[in-house]
């Protein structure tokens, strides 16, 4: 039986663990609210942007003069996987779920005989994929210095990807991130950004015939790179909200487990304490009887 002192130390240590996880949960809750707000604030832009792009893409898309970003390079031999994860751990399955999806996709593509390249955003994804896909890494973006993800971060990543695309380093780019549904549900998602694909609009603008200034092609060529940045920006924000949500529920679980453990240890502690007292009494009584 563990002695009383050990048990007491154990209880103290679990208690301080619980304090930490509780604090982390509350911090995550506060950050989650902010992350959700910025994700929501970015939504109108992304929606309108996609609506306009879908219209443009539909009218120009078929022709040969369509920009490469829309049409693709004509082959799909080299795939770039952009894996976006968090910079920090302790957020449940958040990072590993994204990494798992990316790993599956990479495996699938390799079986088909395609070349796979991996660009990681966020330290945790890099660590998780290093063992299996380490030799495929072509770059890494570190966002740990930025407290708040801004559009400029997304622009920088997009610029990096686009310059690689212009350099002919890959044919298809897919981003991996986690879509925020609610605090307990985040869905790891793969979204293809190059060549761009836009969801069909819900018929709101379909009736209007637009004048384009300058030409449709010029607008499309100007906007497609921005589309990549916009897609990455919304992915980053979704990811931010998902990370905090995942961390919040992970820490909530941890806090509850610590509580249960403390209860169990306290019972054990009290039992041993009683046993010790009983033992002492028996010793005293049997000593007195022997006299």
């Amino acid at each position: 039986m563990p002695n009383l002192k050990d048990l007491k130390n154990r209880i103290e240590s679990v208690k301080s663990t619980r304090k930490i996880t509780k604090a982390m949960q509350m911090v995550a809750a506060a950050k989650l609210r902010r992350a959700q707000e910025s994700a929501e604030a970015s939504r109108p832009y992304a929606e309108r942007f996609n609506a306009v792009m879908a219209g443009l893409a539909a009218s120009v898309g078929g022709s040969d003069s369509a920009p490469k970003l829309l049409r693709g390079t004509g082959s799909d031999d080299v795939h770039l996987l952009v894996v976006m994860t968090a910079e920090r751990g302790l957020c449940g399955g958040f990072n590993s779920n994204i990494a798992k999806l990316a790993r599956q996709k990479a495996e699938e593509l390799r079986l088909k005989g395609k070349t796979v390249k991996v660009l990681t955003v966020g330290k945790k994804g890099r660590d998780a994929l290093k063992r299996d896909l380490g030799d495929l890494f072509v770059g890494h973006v570190d966002l740990s210095e930025f407290k708040r993800i801004g559009y400029t971060n997304a622009q920088d990543i997009a610029k990096d990807i686009l310059s690689r695309f212009d350099g002919g380093e890959f044919d298809v780019a897919t981003i991996f991130y986690s879509k925020f549904v609610n605090v307990v549900t985040q869905i790891p998602t793969a979204q293809q950004v190059i060549p761009a694909s836009f969801e069909e609009t819900e018929g709101d603008d379909s009736g209007a015939v637009f004048d384009y200034e300058p030409s449709e092609e010029a607008i499309l060529a100007d906007l497609l790179p921005k589309g990549v940045a916009t897609a990455i920006f919304s992915a980053l924000l979704e990811n931010g909200a998902s990370e905090q949500g995942a961390r919040m529920s992970a820490m909530d679980n941890a806090t509850r487990n610590a509580g249960e453990m403390i209860d169990k240890l306290t019972i054990q502690f009290n039992r041993s304490r009683q046993a010790v007292i009983t033992n002492e009494l028996i010793e005293i009584i049997s000593g007195a009887e022997a006299l």
């Binding site: 910025s38 604030a41 970015s42 109108p44 832009y45 992304a46 309108r48 942007f49 306009v52 443009l56 801004g150 559009y151 997304a154 622009q155 603008d205 209007a208 015939v209 637009f210 004048d211 384009y212 200034e213 300058p214 010029a218 607008i219 100007d222 906007l223 921005k226 940045a229 916009t230 920006f233």
Partner: protein
Amino acid sequence: MANTMQFDLVSPERSLASLSVTAVQIPGADGDMTAMPDHAPTITTLRPGLLKVEAPEGASEYLVTGGFAQINGDGLSVLAEKAIPVAEVTRSHLDDLIAEARASHDAAKEGDDQTIVDDAAKLLADMEALGTHMSL
């Protein structure tokens, strides 16, 4: 009211304005244009410049860079990569923008694509003109 239209100004990070307006002057890529209610549906890209909004409640101005404007039957949406209310624009904002434009101009000069150099030079000129215009 018949002589107003819905106007929305959104940047990737937030939505800056959403109100009924009588006219909006847009710094289009091919020149300034003013959109008023019942304007023909148009999509134009923006060059860096000033967006002048006239609403029944009063006029306001925004500094916008990059993006596009979409005019349809219901109103006007401007999607700008960067949009700052003019009252909040300081010299340092502008200096940043000019520095950025100059950097891309210099980078373009390294390459041999003349159109990119021209574009960058135009952007730089636009930025500097903006500063003079706003007397900063």
